[in-house]
């Protein structure tokens, strides 16, 4: 990792600019930037300012409370924490395999989570920047501004999120902080009426999701210079991958690649995570800094999340594949693929080099 901007040599001589609080993101943070008299940046830090101590206070509680406690880490992605804790508790109670129904319901619950959280991120939080520009008027640059000028886009965002939340409610009992998953399985079934209620809208939801991909393609085409470089940084990445390296949101083994797409480790049982990952503490944030033990803290840091999952997996569903292909074609039309590093590039390069025995992802 380039640490050059982490700590300035003489902070006392520099001017401080703060973005406090950081808004339109999921979490509590602030950014501080130190500049010299020529406005040259010497230090940039993202401070996670909140400390709560879940690690400690869940100790000693009844084990079955943990899935409902830890989801309160985050009310935006509660299901992910709920399921992670439930999976840990499955192991504790010796439930090596869930019933097929329980696993499907948990998966469905997490798909609802993925949908609502991505809708929130894309429409409610990011779309104002994409539609109005980063420097547009602050009173307009939010979902209210989008609702005023692009009512159809705002409406779809709200309805996509709503559908995801309904999937969660139906599988877990509540839209936020439900209690569906329990150690060893699920405590709620999906009735036929509930299933039909979801089926009624699903094709509309898929169509709108596709339109959202078109929207981002359109925005991209309008300013390729900006979007080909914005926010791009090379890194290792890690995610779980499912059976045969498929994209999977619920279960699988750990796979990590370097910034050229080369496998660092693969097929690792997540219960062994601590053999592969270590964490560093820094004085200026409550967040810890995980890194791959094998590469050390300077070079071992990595991306996780949606980009990492997409770049890391061997294959995804035919529908997503078609979308991803569209994005690639678009990028090729716009620029030289080697200079523009968009998501999925690592796999492109991997494939170009023969990619070992890895299938190129998301072809």
């Amino acid at each position: 990792m380039t640490y050059s901007l982490e700590t300035a040599e003489h902070p006392e001589r520099l001017r401080r600019v703060a973005i406090d609080p950081v808004s339109r993101v999921e979490g509590h943070g602030k950014v501080t930037i130190l500049l010299d008299e020529h406005n040259k940046v010497h230090q940039v830090r993202l401070h996670i300012v909140e400390f709560r101590g879940f690690e400690k206070f869940i100790q000693g509680r009844p084990y079955w409370e943990v899935p409902v406690m830890v989801q309160r880490l985050c009310g935006i992605c509660p299901v992910s924490h709920h399921l992670a804790a439930s999976k840990a508790m499955d192991i504790i109670v010796g439930a090596k395999k869930l019933t097929p129904t329980a696993e499907k319901l948990r998966r469905l619950m997490h798909y609802g989570q993925m949908l609502q959280s991505h809708a929130l991120h894309f429409f409610h939080l990011c779309s104002p920047d994409l539609l109005f520009g980063f420097d547009s008027d602050v009173t307009r640059r939010n979902i209210v501004g989008v609702a005023a000028e692009h009512p159809e886009i705002a409406k779809r965002g709200v309805l996509l999120r709503k559908f995801g939340q309904e999937v969660i409610r139906i599988t877990s009992g509540k839209r936020i902080h439900g209690t569906g998953a329990v150690p060893g399985g699920m405590n709620k079934s999906l009735t036929i009426a509930e299933r039909d209620e979801l089926l009624k809208d699903i094709y509309q939801i898929v169509a709108w999701s596709r339109d959202a991909v078109h929207l981002i393609q359109k925005v991209h085409i309008q300013d390729p210079g900006l979007y080909n470089s914005f926010g791009i940084f090379r890194s290792n990445f890690m995610s779980i991958v499912g059976h045969n390296g498929d994209l999977d949101f619920y279960h699988g083994s750990l796979r990590a690649r370097d910034d050229n797409g080369k496998i660092i480790f693969d097929g690792v049982d997540y219960q062994q995570y601590d053999k592969y990952i270590e964490e560093e503490v820094k004085p200026w944030t409550y967040m810890k800094f995980p890194f791959f033990r094998s590469l050390g803290k300077e070079h071992g840091w990595y991306k996780v999340g949606p980009l990492a999952r997409i770049q890391n997996c061997t294959q995804i569903s035919p529908l997503c594949r078609a979308r991803a292909q569209g994005v690639r074609r678009l990028r090729r039309r716009l620029t030289d693929a080697r200079t523009a590093r968009l998501p999925l590039d690592a796999d492109d390069r991997n494939a170009a080099r023969g990619g070992g025995n890895q299938e190129p992802a998301a072809r």
Binding site: P21, V49, E50, F51, I76, T139, R175, K282, W284
Partner: protein, 184 residues
Amino acid sequence: MNAPVKKKLKVATTSLAGCFGCHMSFLDIDERLFTLLEHIEFDRSPLTDIKEVHPECDIGIIEGGLCNAENVHVLRDFRKNCKILIAIGACAINGGLPAQRNHLPLSAILEEVYHTSPGLSNGLIPNDPELPLPLNQVHPLHEVVKIDYFIPGCPPSGDAIWKVLTDLLAGREPELGHGLMHYD
């Protein structure tokens, strides 16, 4: 004759020691958000990039209790600038889940999380002046400022939040009827 256009009420929201679940529940009013936007405008909120509460803000909605000095500062600022202040959710009302740490000494928790827990390559307790000082215990909002209304729940449902806001907009005393008042 057209009725004079009513000025939109300014609504500020913030998350202190909360999980954003109460904010998400606010968004769970779904399409009713657009109806609401005919009557209100958002001021400082995680949904906007406005960082300071307007000095004549009509309604302030606060999620989360107080776990650090910065939370107290933001709460006082909301009270100073908002005509009506609403505590939303268990955390704001009684500290909620984060208050589970109240029976433990703060130093022991920090020590364990940042020093002795497994998997750390180094041990130190974050102490940069940019980090707000944690309070010894997590406190509810009403211990520090006057709160006008409380909406219980973890989180309260979108329907409960909608009910309170529409009551306020109509000039009625907010009331949570059957099914809207719950504590889980």
